[in-house]
């Protein structure tokens, strides 16, 4: 009879701790859901542009860096694409020579454009070349 209240307190404490753990788990899952929802909303916003402006290279989504699309890019990235119109393909060093910016800046800028799907890159020996893919070179 003496131990009963003690055992009951322990049980309550155990249950409360379990409840706290469960709540933490729910919280984590809610955080993930909120993040995921943010990503979905972003894709939904981008979708009309992607649909009208896409071509596929394998499984990657490629965007056309046409003159109008360039206007929606920040100036730093726009400059890199404009040089590539002229040079066709270029290393970060070639780009830097044209834009008079640092090689590291051009490398970061070109790689960001690759991630965004506007540029492609390929390795030739020790050099990495950035270029604008022409998926439908003079089709129409």
């Amino acid at each position: 009879m003496v131990t009963e209240p003690k055992s009951s307190t322990l049980n309550t404490k155990f249950l409360l701790m379990k409840l706290v753990d469960e709540l933490k788990l729910v919280n984590q899952k809610l955080d993930s859901l909120i993040k995921l929802n943010g990503k979905i909303l972003k894709i939904q916003e981008e979708m009309p542009r992607l649909v009208s402006n896409k071509s596929y290279s394998g499984t990657e989504l490629k965007l056309e860096p046409d003159a109008m699309s360039l206007l929606s890019l920040p100036m730093s990235l726009r400059k890199t694409v404009m040089v590539l119109y002229k040079l066709e393909k270029a290393t970060a060093e070639d780009l830097a020579r044209e834009t008079k910016r640092l090689r590291a800046v051009e490398s970061a800028s070109a790689n960001q454009l690759v991630r965004m799907g506007y540029l492609s890159k390929k390795r030739e020996g020790r050099d990495v070349y950035f270029y604008i893919e022409s998926p439908m070179e003079i089709k129409k």
Partner: protein, 264 residues
């Protein structure tokens, strides 16, 4: 003059772009420069009419064909030097005025437009490096259209032609900020067709107008050209620089040409 590409553009039609582009090309050629004048106004081509006297026989290839990869740069250009005797060479690239060709250009995809800019750069490289051309002038279509923006991107300097009409000026103001500044392109403004009633013909008044416009547009104004009835009434198939070389319009345009040479 170092090899340069100049685009002649405007926010709206009817500002006198083509008259300026064609006569500017003739002025440069009369100075002994080798000039290429390209009609990039694919929706309303006009150079075939202006140079009809100098074009011998049917046109085999148009600039449309070059951009579509159907001919070389050399094949897309017509040499009209012989007809006009200007001193330097004058080559013209014509846009196809056939409705089918215009429709074809309007229907182009974004991917094609990317290729078109690259082709314009390669065309300039061929003109300057292989064909001994000193100056290339693009006559573009008005407003924000792919062919015009492509021309602006590939040229070294853009001349934006405007009248003093408030719609023109507002359009130019927007275009300068949202297009030219966005591409960090060297740009100058040319005010054309200023009515005589404006009474700005004393040099002091002109300077006032120029500084006022430069304040509003935040870009250099390279010239102010009055509205001449003789220019408006001239036949479309007439090249003033050849037919009426002493016309006051030409004098004004020669001043613009000199300033352009200096600024590039």
């Amino acid at each position: 003059m170092k090899e340069k590409a100049i685009s002649i553009h405007s926010s709206r039609g009817g500002t006198g772009k083509t008259v300026i582009a064609t006569n500017l090309a003739a002025i440069f050629a009369s100075k002994g420069l080798n000039v290429a004048l390209l009609d990039l106004d694919f929706r309303a081509p006009s150079l075939a009419t202006v140079f009809s006297k100098g074009i011998k026989g049917p046109v085999r290839y148009w600039l449309n064909d070059f951009l579509n990869g159907r001919c070389t740069v050399e094949q897309a250009l017509v040499d009209v030097s012989e007809e006009y005797h200007l001193g330097g060479r004058l080559l013209i690239g014509l846009a196809n005025p056939a409705i089918d060709a215009i429709r074809n250009i309007i229907e182009k995809s974004r991917a094609w437009e990317v290729t078109a800019v690259k082709k314009l750069f390669s065309l300039l490289s061929s003109l300057f490096n292989d064909m001994n051309i000193n100056c290339c002038i693009f006559d573009t279509s008005p407003g924000v259209q792919y062919t015009s923006i492509n021309a602006v991107i590939s040229s070294d300097i853009s001349v934006v032609v405007t009248t003093l009409d408030s719609l023109d000026l507002k359009g130019v103001e927007n275009m300068l900020v949202e297009l030219y500044d966005a591409f960090a392109k060297k740009t100058v403004v040319l005010i054309n067709k200023v009515f005589p009633e404006t009474q700005i013909w004393s040099s002091e008044r002109q300077e006032d107008l120029v500084s006022q416009m430069e304040r509003v547009l935040k870009h250099p104004v390279i010239g102010v050209i009055p509205c001449y009835c003789g220019v408006l009434q001239a036949e479309r198939a007439s090249l003033l620089a050849v037919d009426k070389p002493f016309h006051p319009f030409l004098k004004k345009l020669e001043e613009v040409a000199e300033k352009l040479e200096r600024s590039i």
